[in-house]
């Protein structure tokens, strides 16, 4: 996978020095995110990697206006997440593993309600829903209550809900964790299409092998900080001393802070 050069003028998703501290229920302070910066350009797919508790979800939620940053800034397609949160939400499709679907509504009704929330008029809405149903292969179940769909179908409905307004930026937080191998493959194929159409995609996942060859670049988080970023080749070069290996090895090296140039930790 070759690296697409990052062109600032095309940056769609951007985080600058994002910090998030909060008070835990036991009264202790938690430093979830400590100065994370990243950028995703149009037509680019970036993987956000990290162990549990590394700060991935918190970072993505700050980008999606669900959490207020303690400091730093986040923007989507030029809209600042704190000054214009509604503007950000109009330009962003967001989906997480925990995102569900209303059980008693049909996929068509779900799409329609969010299309209305995004201000699409009736004609646009119908057209968009028809295209989504086709693209997401929901033709057979578009009018069945979502509660009766399979988990793969439901996740596709969720994705459709996130894409109903045709957003320039897409953020996905472990979207494949509830899916089987086939479901995950289909979803990632769909994302590849979206990227080809010019969407900026930021995706976090635990399953490195799934996105290893699909993302243009990666950002590795550890304990709330960016410990490494770059293309797959760059990461392998930096952390495995150019040795040909799996991204996973570079990931472990990065979060454990040992550079394996010439096999000797530095």
């Amino acid at each position: 996978m070759q690296s697409a050069p990052v062109d600032d003028s095309r940056t769609v998703i951007e985080a600058v020095d994002l910090v998030k501290h909060y008070t835990a229920s036991d009264g202790g302070g938690v430093r979830a995110v400590e100065g994370v910066s990243l950028a995703v350009a149009a037509g680019e797919m970036v993987g956000l990697l990290g162990a549990n508790g590394a700060g991935k979800t918190t970072t993505l939620r700050m980008l999606a206006t669900l959490l207020r940053p303690t400091s730093g800034s986040a923007s989507i397609a030029g809209c600042d997440s704190q000054r214009d949160p509604v503007g950000v939400r109009r330009r962003l499709g967001y989906l997480s593993a925990t995102t569900g679907v209303p059980d008693r509504l049909t996929p068509r009704e779900i799409f329609a309600s969010f299309a209305t929330l995004h201000g699409l008029d009736a004609a646009e809405r119908d057209d968009r829903i028809a295209r989504l149903v086709t693209a997401l292969d929901l033709g057979s179940c578009a009018d069945r209550p979502a509660g009766r769909l399979s988990s793969g179908q439901r996740q596709r409905v969720s994705l459709g809900r996130a894409l109903v307004h045709d957003p320039p930026a897409i953020i996905l937080d472990e979207p494949t964790s509830a899916l089987d191998v086939v479901g995950a493959r289909d979803l990632l194929a769909l994302l590849a299409d979206l990227r080809a159409q010019g969407s900026a995609i930021l995706i976090s996942t635990h399953r490195l092998h799934e996105i290893e060859h699909r993302c243009d670049r990666f950002v590795i988080l550890h304990a709330g900080r960016v410990v490494a970023k770059g293309t797959r080749a760059e990461l392998l070069a930096a952390w495995l001393g150019g040795r040909n290996g799996e991204l996973e090895e570079a990931f472990f090296a990065a979060i454990e802070g040992r550079r394996l140039a010439d096999g000797v930790p530095s």
């Binding site: 679907v101 646009e124 957003p167």
Partner: protein, 724 residues
């Protein structure tokens, strides 16, 4: 790309409402609560009531129905009495026979046979007529007539009552004979005859039990309407969290308020539908139940049924809105539907109790009660069914209370929705914190200052404690004051402060007043505390003068009683102890609570001038309410506001304590000046005591001067580091 397009706020609210409503109506639980429950409840209730009434009424009628009684008489004068009774039976007609048996069967038999008859139960009564009975009747004596009842079976009460009627008639007959023999007219025994002239103008209508039932039915209506909001509210937010769909709404291009308003609209619509179905079911049940009710009882509405119905529906529309908002607010903190159910159930019970309290005696619509949530609506609606005054004529009278109840419900709904929006957007509630709503019962983490709710908590606990303490509180204030201060002020404060760990120094403004200067602290501290003492003393004099001017000596019973007890405390105890109890203890305890804990909680941090002003006013209002006596509330409010202002200006609790101390000390000082404690009248003469404590004009002028001077001193020594 059309991503930059947006929907209008109204469009967003409606889209969310529509989406939620679709979900609700596809939930069978909602349909059950909204449609089936009311349709089943009222008929069942009416049927059981009607059948019960019918049974009771036929039992009463049977009891009162004339019957045949079998009387056996024995004794020498038995035949003569039998003749007299038979003659009475023959001559009595019409109303004179009220309570009489349909037929009296009499047999004169010898005593042994009579006993056998009565023992076998073949006769209802055995009357033993002694010899000389008739002669004694015709004389002027009181004659005893022994009557035996069957031993084998219980005598029916009506046999006894009906025989008593016969005996009364006999006595009346004897009375008239005696009067006639004495040469007096019969009218001597009937000095008054009341005649209802219009008695036959209107037919006697069957008694409507609707006004009696209205209270209970309205409470049931309130509870069922409330239940209509139960499942939709749980589904609307906790359900969305459980399904993981709340995030999708929160990243939709609309504000949290829009989301909450949309959800409220949907829940309100279901609640309103529940109300309408309930009302229809009640109306239909009332119409149908006519068939089951006994003839003497009707369930028809009084005149102006339409007006009563309209007022009920209008008042209950407010209740429905309030129910929807309350349920939404309560379930917002829950993360799952089950958890929300657990949280909401006690709230529903509590609110049902509130609605039930509305039918207590003395709850009238023409008072501030109409503004009470859940009770006010029932009170207003019920007044339309109370007896015969209902109808179009009652409409202008009810318009005020109806408007009040609607405005109050609207206002409270709005506040609840604001709270819901704040809670929904709260990151801790949404993503972190304890995983259950029982988290509300888990000890919260440290925060620098208490939250607003925690600011009010010790006051509510304190008022509850006061309620209990007043049951045990001794009349002697030397014991009562420490008990009340400990139970109602210190203990709740300590409990809440233990529960919520805070920065004690910041919360209780533990600092020296005034700025630190090159010359040390002594001068600014002295200035501030002198100013505070002057202000406190002045405010007391002004407050007392205003109170005396406004009320003279016309105080409420409670106020008189308190004054009496205060004076006897000052008279009977050493002055030092009285001063400690009346001035020192309250000054320290109440300042810690109101100007320390509550003011900090209300003012929050960082402080803005508007919020600080609001906090000073709000804590003063709490302070006034806490003192319970309505006539003292303006004075206590003023004092609370002044003390709050001092704390804010000086950044220290000390001036408020000193001012409060000076304020309360003035009571003792003034009483001493006005004639010395020894010169006080014995207890029970409060009027004299109050008159003794009259405020001369010069004292008022001096008090105004003291307040102004004190305020200036305080202001001159204020903190200038922007902490106010």
């Amino acid at each position: 790309m059309n991503a930059a397009q947006g929907s209008s706020r109204l469009q967003a609210v409606l889209a969310i409402a529509r989406r939620d409503l679709l979900e609700f109506v596809r939930d069978r639980r909602t349909l059950f609560i909204t449609l089936l429950l009311p349709m089943a409840t009222y008929p069942i209730m009416a049927l059981s009531t009607a059948l019960g009434l019918r049974a009771a009424s036929s039992e009463i009628e049977a009891q009162q129905a004339p019957t045949k009684i079998a009387v056996v008489l024995s004794g020498e004068d038995a035949p003569a009495l039998a003749t007299r009774l038979a003659e009475l039976d023959r001559t009595r007609t019409g109303h004179d026979r009220d309570g009489w048996p349909a037929k009296i069967e009499m047999a004169v038999v010898p005593p042994p046979e009579a006993r056998a008859l009565i023992d076998r139960g073949d006769a209802d009564l055995w009357v033993e007529v002694e010899s000389g009975f008739i002669r004694a009747l015709d004389a002027t004596a009181t004659v005893v007539l022994p009557v035996s009842l069957p031993a084998g079976r219980p005598t029916e009460r009506r046999v006894r009552e009906q025989f008593e009627s016969v005996a009364k008639s006999l006595a009346q007959d004897v009375r008239q004979r005696r009067i006639a023999r004495a040469g007096l007219p019969a009218s001597v025994l009937a000095p008054l005859d009341v005649v209802f002239k219009d008695e036959n103008r209107l037919p006697h209508p069957p008694r409507s039990i609707l006004s009696t039932l209205a209270g209970g039915v309205l409470v049931l209506l309130a509870v069922l309407t409330l239940t209509g909001a139960f499942y939709p509210a749980i589904d609307a937010i906790a359900g969305e969290k459980e399904r993981g769909t709340i995030e999708t709404l929160l990243i939709a291009p609309c504000s949290v308020q829009d989301i909450v308003h949309g959800k409220f609209l949907a829940v309100f619509a279901v609640t309103l539908a529940t109300l309408v179905v309930n009302v229809l079911s009640i109306a239909a049940t009332a119409a149908v139940s006519k068939r089951f009710l006994p003839g003497s009882i009707s369930m028809t509405l009084p005149d102006g049924a339409a007006a009563a119905l309209i007022v009920t529906v209008l008042a209950f529309t407010g209740l429905a809105a309030l129910a929807a908002a309350t349920c939404l607010a309560v379930t917002t903190a829950s993360k799952t539907g089950k958890e929300a159910q657990n949280t909401l159930t006690p709230v529903i019970l509590l609110v049902s109790a509130l609605a039930g309290a509305a039918i207590l005696p003395g709850m009238r619509a023409d008072s501030a009660l109409a503004a009470l949530p859940f009770a006010g609506q029932v009170v207003v609606a019920r007044s339309m069914f109370a007896g015969g005054e209902a109808g179009p004529d009652a409409l202008p009278e009810i318009a005020g209370p109806l408007a009040l109840t609607l405005v109050a419900a609207g206002l409270l709904t709005w506040l609840l929705l604001r709270a819901t929006a704040t809670l929904l957007a709260d990151e801790d509630t949404l993503f972190r914190g304890p995983d259950t709503a029982t988290g509300a019962f888990a000890r919260p983490g440290y925060r620098p200052l208490p939250s607003m709710l925690q600011g009010v908590a010790p006051i509510v606990l304190g008022l509850a404690a006061l309620w209990y303490v007043q049951g045990f509180s001794p009349d002697d204030l030397a014991l009562a004051i420490p008990l009340q201060q400990a139970a109602a002020v210190l203990a709740p404060l300590a409990l809440v402060a233990w529960w919520q760990r805070v920065d004690l120094r910041q919360t209780f403004a533990i600092a020296w007043p005034g700025p630190s200067t090159r010359h040390g602290r002594v001068w600014p501290v002295t200035t501030a505390l002198t100013g505070a003492a002057l202000c406190g003393a002045g405010v007391f004099v002004l407050g007392a003068a205003a109170l005396l001017a406004a009320r003279g000596t016309g105080f409420s019973e409670e106020a008189r009683h308190l004054t009496e007890r205060l004076i006897s405390l000052m008279r009977d105890r050493p002055t030092g102890l009285a001063w400690c109890l009346i001035a020192l203890v309250p000054a320290v305890c109440e300042e810690l609570l109101f100007r320390g804990w509550t003011l900090s909680a209300f003012a929050g941090a960082p402080r803005s001038p508007a919020r600080t002003a609001w906090a000073v006013i709000a804590q003063a209002a709490c302070f006034a309410i806490f003192h319970l006596l309505p006539e003292r509330m303006p004075q206590t409010f003023l004092l609370g506001a002044v003390l709050g202002w001092m704390t804010v200006v000086s950044g220290s609790l000390l001036p408020a304590m000193v001012a409060h101390l000076a304020h309360n000390s003035m009571a003792i000082l003034l009483v001493s000046l006005a004639g010395g404690l020894s010169g006080l009248p014995p207890s029970g003469k409060t009027d004299d005591a109050v008159a003794l404590v009259g405020i001369p004009p010069w004292a008022v002028v001096a008090a105004v001067g003291a307040v102004i001077l004190g305020a200036l001193l305080l202001w001159s020594s204020r903190r200038r580091d922007g902490s106010e």
